[in-house]
C-alpha cells in the first residue's frame, strides 16, 4: 500500500517511519525546507517523547539517547531560589518544609499517572452509542483499580484550577509556580483557570526522560530512521489540495500543480487546516466542518534567543549554572501574565522558560497572544525583546552587558515560519473539551475522517502533547491496519 504523509514535523516523521517499517511505500511531504517542525528550532522540551516509540523505531541505532531531565532553577529576589529536581529524594534538601508534601505528591502521581499514560498510548476510545462496550469496560476497570481514594481525588482535582490544587499541598510559591507553569503549556489558561489541574496531570503523564542533545537530536534520529526504512522525503513540497473523489482521498496536489496519488493520505499538519483548507468544502460533512470551525487554537507562544558573552549567573545563587530556569516567583505572576493574554495585551511582567548553555539562551514566553490588540509589528517585536531582558534583570543584574538578542519570534512570526495556524504549537488548545475522545472533536479523534482514506495524525489529535510523537504513531497504526 502507498501512503502520502503530509507534514514532516515530529509526528509526521514518526508516522512515516512507522508506516515504512510496516512495509508500506511512504512519501513524506514537508512544506518547509527542512524537517522537524516545532521540534526544529521552537520547542525544547523532549521529556514527553514516548520511549516506546523510540524503541519501536529503533532510534537508538540512529544515535538517540535518553537521560534524566535536568533540574529547573527558579530564581528569587529575596532568597536563594529553588533548584527543583523531579526526583523527591534529590529535591528534599531544597524544599525544606515542603519536602514531605512533595514526596507525597510524587507518590500520588506515581499511583494515578499509569492509568492516564495508558490512555495516551492508545487510540481514543469510541464513546459513540454504537461503539463496542468491551474496550470501554476495560478502561473503566483499569480506572477502578486506582482505588477509591485516588479515584475520588482525581475526580475532585481534575476540574479544579492548578493553583488551588497545589496550594493544598505546598507552601513555597516558587515550587507552586514551577509546577503550575508546566500545566499551562499549549493551553489558553492561567493557574487560576478551571481544569488546569487536568492539563497538569496530562503533562505529567507524558513526561519522562529527555533526549540527549535536545529536540534537534531527536529530529536527526527521526529523519535517519525515515531514510533508513525507505521513506521518500520531500522537503519544500507544499500540499495545496487533498484530492477527493466519490468520498475517497486519492492523493494530493502540490503547489505548482504536481499531482501525487496514493492509497492513503495521512495528514500530520493541523486538523483544521487539513479539513477546511486542503479539502474542498463539498467533500466534508457539515458536522465536521462546524467542529473544525469552532476549534480553538489561539497561540500564546513567543521565543527570544540570546547570545551570551559569558554564562548567566543568577545573583541569588552565584556559580550555579542551571540548564533550565523558570522566571516566575509566584503562581500569581503567571496568572497576571495570562490576564494580559485574555485582554489581548502585552504582559508588563513576562514569566520566562529558559534553556541555556554557556554561550546562548533560548527563552520561551508563553503569555504572548497572537491576538494582540493592534497586531504584531516590528515595534512590538522589539518590545518583547526588551521586556525579556527587563524580566531577567532583577535576577541577573549584568544581563544587558553579557547578552545580545539575536532573534525574536512573536506568535505571528511562529505562525508564519513554522506554518502553524493560529501560531499554536499543538494545532489546538489543550482544554477539557479538546482532549481525549474530543480532540479535535468527537468524530475525528480516532484518526479516521469522514473521507475514506484520509487520516489525521498531528498533535491536534488525541492524545495531543508537545513533542510526544504519540498522535503520529497511533495514526500510523490505524492507517496500517485498514
Amino acid at each position: 500500500m502507498t501512503v502520502i504523509v503530509i507534514g514532516g514535523g515530529h509526528n509526521g516523521l514518526v508516522a512515516a517511519a512507522s508506516l515504512a517499517r510496516q512495509g508500506h511505500g511512504v512519501t513524506l511531504l514537508e512544506g518547509r525546507g527542512s524537517f522537524g517542525g516545532v521540534a526544529a528550532g521552537l520547542l525544547h522540551d523532549t521529556d514527553s517523547f514516548s520511549p516506546n516509540i523510540a524503541k519501536a523505531l529503533d532510534l537508538a541505532s540512529h544515535g538517540l539517547e535518553f537521560t534524566d531531565p535536568a533540574p529547573v532553577f527558579v530564581p528569587s529576589r529575596e532568597g536563594p531560589g529553588l533548584l527543583l529536581h523531579r526526583d523527591p529524594v534529590q529535591a528534599a534538601e531544597e524544599l525544606g518544609t515542603d519536602a514531605e508534601a512533595y514526596t507525597n505528591w510524587c507518590a500520588f502521581l506515581k499511583r494515578v499517572l499509569p492509568f492516564a499514560a495508558s490512555q495516551l498510548d492508545s487510540v481514543a476510545p469510541d464513546i459513540s452509542t454504537t461503539g463496542p462496550l468491551l474496550p470501554l469496560m476495560r478502561r473503566g476497570l483499569a480506572f477502578r483499580r486506582m482505588g477509591k481514594t485516588d479515584i475520588h481525588e482525581c475526580l475532585r482535582i481534575g476540574p479544579a484550577c492548578v493553583d488551588d490544587t497545589l496550594s493544598e499541598h505546598f507552601q513555597s510559591p516558587l515550587l507552586r509556580a514551577a509546577l503550575s507553569a508546566r500545566a499551562l503549556h499549549g493551553t489558553w489558561m492561567g493557574p487560576r483557570s478551571p481544569s488546569s489541574t487536568a492539563t497538569l496531570l496530562l503533562g505529567e503523564a507524558q513526561s519522562g526522560q529527555e533526549v540527549v542533545g535536545g529536540a534537534s537530536s531527536l529530529v536527526t534520529a527521526l529523519v535517519a530512521a525515515c531514510e533508513n526504512s525507505g521513506v521518500e522525503l520531500r522537503p519544500s513540497c507544499r500540499v495545496s489540495r487533498i484530492q477527493v473523489s466519490q468520498g475517497r482521498a486519492k492523493g494530493v496536489t502540490i503547489e505548482g500543480g504536481e499531482s501525487l496519488l496514493a492509497d492513503r493520505v495521512l495528514s500530520c499538519i493541523g486538523p483544521r487546516r487539513t479539513l477546511l483548507e486542503l479539502v474542498e468544502s463539498e467533500h466534508l460533512p457539515i458536522r465536521e466542518a462546524g467542529q473544525m470551525a469552532n476549534l480553538r487554537l489561539r497561540g500564546t507562544l513567543a521565543r527570544v534567543s540570546l547570545q551570551l558573552a559569558e554564562p548567566i549567573d543568577y545573583a541569588c545563587r552565584p556559580g550555579l549554572r542551571p540548564k533550565r530556569c523558570l522566571v516566575a516567583e509566584h503562581p500569581l505572576d503567571l496568572e497576571r501574565a495570562f490576564d494580559h493574554v485574555k485582554h489581548r495585551r502585552m504582559p508588563t511582567q513576562l514569566p520566562l522558560d529558559i534553556h541555556q548553555t554557556e554561550e546562548e539562551a533560548s527563552i520561551l514566553i508563553r503569555c504572548a497572544t497572537i491576538e494582540l490588540q493592534g497586531g504584531w509589528s516590528d515595534e512590538r517585536r522589539q518590545e518583547l525583546g526588551e521586556l525579556t531582558l527587563a524580566a531577567l534583570e532583577p535576577y541577573v543584574p549584568n544581563i544587558r552587558g553579557i547578552a545580545r538578542v539575536t532573534r525574536i519570534l512573536t506568535p505571528a512570526d511562529i505562525a508564519e515560519e513554522f506554518d502553524l495556524e493560529g501560531g499554536h504549537e499543538m494545532h489546538g488548545e489543550l482544554s477539557l473539551d479538546q482532549l481525549g475522545p474530543m480532540r479535535p472533536s468527537m468524530t475525528l479523534s480516532r484518526h479516521a475522517t469522514p473521507i475514506d482514506g484520509l487520516y489525521l495524525g498531528s498533535a491536534g489529535i488525541h492524545p495531543g502533547g508537545a513533542i510526544s510523537g504519540r498522535p503520529g504513531w497511533q495514526a500510523a497504526q490505524v492507517v496500517g491496519s485498514r
Binding site: 483548507e277 474542498e280 468544502s281 463539498e282 467533500h283 460533512p285 457539515i286 466542518a289 462546524g290 470551525a293
Partner: protein, 410 residues
C-alpha cells in the same frame, strides 16, 4: 410587533377589513374585504396582486456563487443558466428539510435566493472556502406577485420585457412602470403569473401602475387567505404547515426529508457534495417512510355526516391549517397512518382537497383513507382518496405564446 412593508400605506388604504396577520415579522393583509372569495376568483379569472415583500430574499454573488448554492441547495445550481429560476429545498446534515424556495440566476455570478424564513446565519456558516458574498436584501427589495390568467396582459402594459417570450420559470431584468427591476414567471398559485422584484422606494410606483393597468381587467389586490386556497389547489406545500423546518423541531419524529414532504423531485442523489445527501442516500436504500399525497374527501359522506346532526353541509371559505389524523380506511380505532396538514374547499374544482403526509404504503393513487372530520364537536371520519397532485393545473400555467421551437438555436 410586526413591521410595515414598503406598500403598507397603500394596502392599508385599500383594505376595508382590517385583517392583518404576521408574516415573517411583517404585517400582511389576510383579505381586503369582508370575504376573500372575490380575491380568490380574481386569481383564477382575472388577476390578483399580492405584496410579497416579507419573503426572505438574499443576493449571492461571487466567482463561486453557483458552486456554493449547489452545496446548500438540493438542486444543481451550477447548471442553472442566466435568466432561469429553480425551485428547490435546503436540508440539514441529516437530510432533514429546513426550508424551500427559489434560486434565480441573474448572471453567472449573481443569484437571488428566496426562502420562507431567514437563513443568513446558516448561509454564512457554510460559505467557508467559497469565494462568495451573501447579502440579506429582504428589507431593501420589495416583491409583488401578479397571478392569474390575465396577469400577462396587465403586466405587459407597464413593461417592455417581452412577456410572450418569457418561459415558465424564466427571469429577466427590465423597466417596470419606469423603474428598473426584475420580472420572473414564478408564483405560488399554480396559475399563469409573475413575480416582480424592485427596490422598496419604487414599490408604490409599480403597485399603483399595476392597479391602474389592471382596472379594465378586474385586477384585485389580494391577501394571504385567497392565496392559501390557490396554493392548495396547486398542490404546493408550505413550510411550517405541511412540514416543519428541522430547526424548529424538538423531536426527530417531527422532521421531514424532501421525500416525506413531496419534494423528492428536487433531489438528485447522483450528484455529490450537497448538504444532506449522504443521509438521503441511506434513506433511499432503506426506502422512504413517508410520502405527501393529495386527497379528495367524499362530498356525499360530508353531506350525510352533517345530515345526521340535522345540519346543512357547512364549508369554510378559508383553507384549514389545523393538522388532523389520517387513518387507514375504516381504521379510525387504530393508530393513525399519517396527518392531513392543509385542506380547503376548491371553489373552482368544486372538490374538497387535502394535503397529507402518510406512510408510504398508503401513498399510491386510488388508496382510500379515513380523514378526521369534526361536526358538532364530535370527531368523525370522512373517506379521502389519493388523487393526482396538482389538483388544479391549467395549460396557461406553462404555455408560452412565443416559445422558441424545440431544438432551435438561440
Amino acid at each position: 410587533m410586526p413591521r410595515k412593508t414598503a406598500l403598507f400605506e397603500r394596502t392599508a388604504d385599500l383594505m376595508t377589513s382590517v385583517a392583518w396577520k404576521e408574516w415573517a415579522g411583517y404585517a400582511a393583509p389576510c383579505n381586503f374585504d369582508a370575504h376573500s372569495e372575490r380575491e380568490y376568483f380574481a386569481i383564477r379569472h382575472s388577476a390578483g396582486l399580492l405584496d410579497l415583500s416579507p419573503l426572505a430574499k438574499y443576493m449571492v454573488t461571487g466567482a463561486d456563487a453557483a458552486r456554493y448554492l449547489a452545496r446548500i441547495w438540493t438542486r444543481d445550481i451550477t447548471r442553472l443558466k442566466p435568466g432561469r429560476v429553480a425551485y428547490g429545498c435546503m436540508c440539514d446534515g441529516d437530510g432533514k428539510l429546513l426550508d424551500d424556495g427559489t434560486v434565480a440566476c441573474l448572471d453567472p455570478e449573481t443569484f437571488r435566493v428566496t426562502s420562507s424564513e431567514a437563513w443568513l446565519g446558516w448561509f454564512e456558516r457554510h460559505s467557508r472556502g467559497y469565494q462568495v458574498e451573501i447579502e440579506d436584501c429582504t428589507d431593501r427589495l420589495a416583491a409583488l406577485a401578479l397571478q392569474g390568467p390575465l396577469s400577462r396582459e396587465i403586466l405587459q402594459v407597464v413593461t417592455e420585457v417581452d412577456l410572450d417570450a418569457m418561459r415558465f420559470f424564466g427571469v429577466a431584468a427590465g423597466s417596470i412602470a419606469g423603474v428598473n427591476g426584475w420580472i420572473s414567471r414564478t408564483g405560488y398559485t399554480g396559475d399563469l403569473g409573475y413575480e416582480i422584484w424592485i427596490a422598496c422606494e419604487d414599490a408604490l410606483t409599480v403597485y399603483d401602475a399595476l392597479l391602474v393597468a389592471g382596472k379594465p381587467h378586474y385586477l384585485e389586490p389580494i391577501g394571504l387567505d385567497a392565496l392559501d386556497v390557490a396554493r392548495i389547489e396547486a398542490g404546493f406545500v408550505m413550510q411550517g404547515v405541511d412540514y416543519i423546518s428541522a430547526q424548529h423541531c424538538l423531536i426527530e419524529a417531527r422532521k421531514s426529508t424532501p421525500e416525506d414532504a413531496g419534494l423528492g423531485w428536487t433531489v438528485n442523489l447522483e450528484r455529490v457534495g450537497w448538504i444532506g445527501r449522504e443521509a438521503l442516500v441511506q434513506e433511499q436504500e432503506q426506502g422512504p417512510k413517508w410520502g405527501l399525497v393529495g386527497l379528495e374527501l367524499d362530498w356525499a359522506e360530508i353531506e350525510a355526516l352533517h345530515e345526521e346532526y340535522g345540519l346543512p353541509p357547512h364549508l369554510s371559505p378559508l383553507a384549514c391549517r389545523n393538522a388532523v389524523p389520517v387513518y387507514s380506511e375504516g381504521g379510525a380505532t387504530e393508530k393513525p397512518v399519517g396527518q392531513a396538514t392543509s385542506s380547503s374547499w376548491s371553489p373552482t374544482l368544486k372538490r374538497y382537497l387535502v394535503l397529507a403526509q402518510v406512510h408510504r404504503k398508503y401513498a399510491d393513487l386510488g388508496t382510500r383513507l379515513s380523514v378526521e372530520y369534526t361536526v358538532e364537536f364530535e370527531r368523525r371520519t370522512i373517506t379521502g382518496t389519493v388523487v393526482e397532485r396538482p389538483f388544479f393545473d391549467p395549460e396557461r400555467k406553462t404555455f408560452t405564446p412565443k416559445a422558441a421551437p424545440k431544438g432551435a438555436s438561440r
